[in-house]
């Protein structure tokens, strides 16, 4: 049982508790436990960069400094957090100026950071730390015949690409018995905060994603980022109203999919808290099997 130092981020404590809980449940099965880092603060997402790059780097420097007390690794599940934290960690080592900035400010707060922390995305950990065979062996509820669209969102591959192949999710979908669809929008933008700030624009992006998923006959979309989940699921109604479409595609987390395939109970995985039931779709597999 390996222990992962974990940075949940605000939204995993908010709308997206399901992501957090399912990540824990998945860990129980494949062999990791999440250890939330002490008194972490918000990563500032994309908004903080728009107010002050300096302060954004400082806020994240604090997180890194805290993380470093226990381990040289910090696992993150949220795309935005992953981007901000990894960008900070990267720039700390690359820019003397930013290093100076962070070091001095941390000193002021009586903290230190040595630049050693490696920021990892949960997907990358799951994909790289466990042999595919091992994972496949743990699948007890193969998701036979279910067509799933893998959706990475932006932040896993940009600006700082996580060290995983571009079909990591596809491979995970396959080993849980389901069929990955060729989802060319898999790393296209979900609209981010635009969906909230500029619905007229944001919803357009959501629609584009959904319509490809539908065109490729995906019954389910799995994501690796809470904001993507919110945008794709919550706003399907709004999209349908705006473009009079009839999208009804459940959007769940890759951790929920894996967890379910590996036999975790829907309750543990908080399956059912999504507004468009992904559980119903997952259940179809058993029907098909029986």
């Amino acid at each position: 049982m390996k222990t992962l130092q974990f940075f949940p981020g605000c939204s995993l404590l908010g709308f997206n508790e399901a992501y957090y809980k399912s990540a824990i449940a998945l860990g129980k099965i494949i062999g990791y436990q999440l250890e939330e880092i002490d008194d972490w603060n918000c990563c500032g997402a994309t908004a903080y960069f728009s107010i002050s790059e300096e302060r954004t780097f400082l806020a994240n420097a604090r997180n890194l400094a805290i993380a470093q007390r226990n381990a040289d690794e910090l696992t993150v599940a949220c795309g935005a957090c992953y981007a901000s934290l990894s960008k900070t960690a990267r720039y700390y080592t690359q820019s003397r100026k930013l290093k100076f900035l962070m070091d001095s400010a941390l000193k002021e707060a009586g903290m230190v950071y040595d630049g050693k922390v490696i920021v990892r995305h949960l997907l990358e950990v799951v994909f790289n730390e466990y042999p595919k065979g091992e994972l496949a062996a743990k699948v007890v509820r193969p998701l036979k015949g279910i067509k799933i669209a893998p959706y990475y969102g932006c932040m896993i591959f940009r600006p700082i690409p996580a060290p995983i192949p571009r079909d990591a999710l596809e491979q995970l979908i396959q080993l849980s018995g389901a069929i990955p669809v060729d989802f060319s929008a898999k790393d296209k933008c979900c609209g981010g905060m635009l969906v909230n700030n500029r619905p007229d624009v944001g919803l357009e992006l959501v629609r584009n994603l959904l319509s490809e998923a539908q065109m490729k006959e995906a019954q389910l979309i799995i994501t690796t980022c809470p904001l993507c989940q919110i945008n794709l699921e919550l706003y399907q109604g709004a999209v349908n109203r705006k473009y009079d479409t009839e999208f009804k595609i459940p959007v769940i987390y890759f951790t929920q999919m894996l967890g379910y395939a590996m036999g975790a109970s829907p309750e543990e995985l908080r399956l059912g808290t999504e507004l468009i039931s992904g559980l119903d779709v997952l259940k179809k597999a058993e029907v098909a099997k029986a």
């Binding site: 060319s184 929008a185 584009n208 319509s211 490809e212 065109m215």
Partner: protein, 651 residues
């Protein structure tokens, strides 16, 4: 030791600033100086005679001329002194124009500096030794590596001049990439029609020995006398017997993707690369041959009336001796898969410019028909420039040919499919060349839609009914500043040129360096564009950098001329600056050995001491500076000579 010193006024160029008289007086006071004079123009006929007369009269054995820079007139005065019977390397120049009068304001300072330089030169001359340029005989034969248009041209030129030419081609046929093209821009004459005669001439010319399906293994020796070992790969067909009738191919059951058609069609396991192949001989591809894979078949042997099939053929090793080498090893087309955003390999109707060339060729996989993978004729086509070029993620350089190639394709499309819509996406359109701009206008006139913008994406996901079943090219029209989606049936990627796979290998074999992007480095970008730092090795065609056909041919001729000039002279003259070993001092430590960039130093097996191979030594002196026991020294730049110059300056 008697030295004559001559100070030039160079009109007022020198005398205007430097007090020539003063310098002359100073010179005459220097040790070993028998005579010191000044004159208006030393380089003039009377000026030169002045020196000659003194040499005879005073029996001078050293001469210093203080005038312009040696780069200007050293040769002039060297000939002058040798005409008077003095060794030209007993001569030294002091540059008091470029390095003094033209760059100094204060006449006093200038005069002082001039004195020092003269003193230094005089001190140096008194320690200089007579030297003679080294002459190396040059063999009357050339090795041409690469049988593309550049290689063919160079080979023919040298052969026509009556020299023996070995043309080495690693493919089973010569012709290179040009043989794959259908039409050539801007004149649109058929590529095969202008190339084939030259290919045939190669085999017909008795001065050329074509080594097809062969590669250079190793090269030793030096300019004028290279020893080359070449391996000839087995064709498993006896070329001397094969008539090229092709019956074997028709009967052969083994199939493989046809390289010549970019894998768009199949060829047999025993095959002739293409109808106009030279030599027109069959060969067997082991990987797809049933006999080699399963041990059965041998159908070809049964049907070959000439009995040419030879399953046990072995690689053939030849060794050649040549005076000069011309590298014309060409380029490698950019692998379009690397441009992920365009989905080459994922979308069947996204093709490369080279595939398009084969498609338009009547001998190509579609018999000259421009069709989609499902056989339909495209109604709309996008042509994308700069694929793999001008991009920090691939190659920074411009591939030079893609603009014209794309325009040509636009024209061919309009010609083959009346009413087809052609979008041509370019960043900057570079039509610099004779008749190129005119061709550009012509293509625009034919109704090709030119869009200034580099597409960011090709997708098959429609966002509107019109896009259903189409490829959608997403690009910003940077003139209109609007981002648009262009639905098309086919997209042609105009792929750039890259240095050949074996360029690195070849560069090591022939000790010629490469630029950062992997192409061969010329000796001087402007004044020695087809020479390499290695004397006797020349480069031609796209192996030196992206190039179109006219440029390649011109360069090939230039390289041939360089080689011929060398052979015509019969010998190659090397400057006398050579490293020498004083065996008494050499400890055989070998520090110098791997410092030499030309392998001119070797350990003498008997004595164990360092030995200099004169012919290879280029006289850089890297070894001399390194020798811990001062056993090495450099003729013409001996430590004592440079030291004397130093002391002269510092005296």
């Amino acid at each position: 030791m008697k030295i004559g010193v001559y100070i030039c006024h160079c009109g007022t160029n020198i005398a205007g600033v430097v007090n020539v008289k003063e310098v002359t007086e100073y010179a005459s006071s220097l040790p070993n100086v028998a005579v010191a004079r000044d004159y208006k123009y030393m380089c003039s006929e009377p000026g030169q005679n002045l020196i000659g007369d003194d040499i005879r009269q005073y029996g001078l054995d050293g001469v210093v001329v203080a005038a312009c820079s040696p780069t200007m007139h050293e040769p002039t005065f060297q000939t002058a002194v040798s005409r008077a019977g003095m060794n030209p390397y007993m001569f030294q120049m002091a540059s008091i124009r470029e390095h003094v009068s033209w760059v100094t304001v204060d006449p006093e300072e200038a005069t002082e500096k001039a004195k020092k330089l003269v003193e230094a030169a005089a001190a140096r001359v008194s320690l200089q030794e007579p030297l003679a340029k080294r002459r190396i005989p040059v063999r009357q034969s050339v090795l041409v590596v690469g049988g593309g248009i550049a290689g063919i041209e160079a080979a023919l030129k040298c052969a026509d001049a009556g020299k023996k030419v070995y043309l080495v081609e690693k493919e089973p046929s010569i012709g290179g990439h040009m043989a794959m093209f259908d039409k050539t821009f801007p004149t649109l004459d058929c590529s095969q029609c202008i190339l084939t005669p030259k290919m045939v001439e190669v085999v017909r010319n008795e001065n050329i020995e074509l080594l097809d399906y062969s590669e250079v293994e190793e090269i030793s020796g030096h300019v004028g006398d290279f020893k080359v070992s070449v391996v000839r790969k087995p064709r498993y067909v006896d070329s001397t017997k094969c008539t090229g009738c092709g019956i074997c191919s028709t009967k052969c059951p083994g199939k493989a993707p046809d390289e010549f058609n970019m894998g768009m069609s199949k060829r047999k396991a025993i095959y002739i690369p293409f109808p106009q192949a030279v030599p027109l001989k069959a060969l067997i591809d082991r990987d797809s041959c049933l006999y080699y894979q399963k041990g059965i078949c041998k159908v070809c042997a049964k049907f070959c009336t000439a009995g040419a099939i030879d399953f046990d053929q072995e690689p053939d090793h030849l060794s050649l001796e040549v005076g000069a080498v011309i590298l014309a090893t060409g380029f490698k087309p950019f692998d379009a898969r690397r441009a992920r955003e365009y989905g080459y390999g994922k979308y069947p109707n996204v093709i490369t410019s080279l595939e398009f060339e084969r498609m338009t060729s009547s001998s190509g996989p579609t018999g000259g028909k421009l069709v989609l993978k499902d056989g339909r004729e495209p109604e709309s086509v996008a042509i994308i420039h700069c694929v793999g070029s001008r991009n920090v993620n691939d190659n920074l350089y411009c591939s030079k040919i893609c603009c014209m190639q794309s325009l040509k394709h636009a024209h061919l499309l309009k010609e083959h499919i009346p009413g087809v819509t052609v979008y041509d996406f370019f960043i900057d359109l570079r039509a610099a060349g004779k008749g190129y701009e005119e061709f550009y206008r012509r293509v625009m006139g034919e109704g090709t839609i030119m869009i200034r913008g580099r597409p960011a994406l090709i997708t098959d996901v429609p966002s509107a009914p019109v896009e259903k079943g189409k490829l959608v090219v997403v690009a910003e029209d940077t003139i209109l500043s609007t981002v648009q989606r262009y639905p098309v049936d086919m997209a042609i990627l105009s792929i750039g040129l890259e240095a050949g796979e074996d360029a690195k290998e070849l560069a090591r074999t022939f000790t010629c360096s490469r630029t950062a992007d992997g192409f061969f480095l010329e000796k001087h970008p402007k004044l020695a564009p087809v020479s390499t730092p290695t004397a006797g090795v020349f480069i031609a065609g796209a192996c030196q950098g992206p190039k179109d056909i006219p440029d390649s041919v011109a360069q090939a001729a230039a390289a041939a001329a360089e080689a011929l000039a060398m052979m015509g002279k019969g010998y190659f003259e090397l400057e006398p600056y050579v490293a020498r070993v004083t065996e008494e001092l050499c400890s055989g430590c070998g520090v110098c050995l791997n410092l030499c960039a030309y392998n001119a130093l070797e350990k003498d097996p008997q004595t164990g001491l360092t030995k200099v191979v004169e012919a290879l030594c280029q006289g850089c002196g890297a070894c001399v500076a390194a020798c811990p026991s001062n056993a090495l020294d450099l003729d013409g730049f001996k430590t004592k000579q440079v030291a004397a110059e130093l002391e002269g300056i510092l005296a």
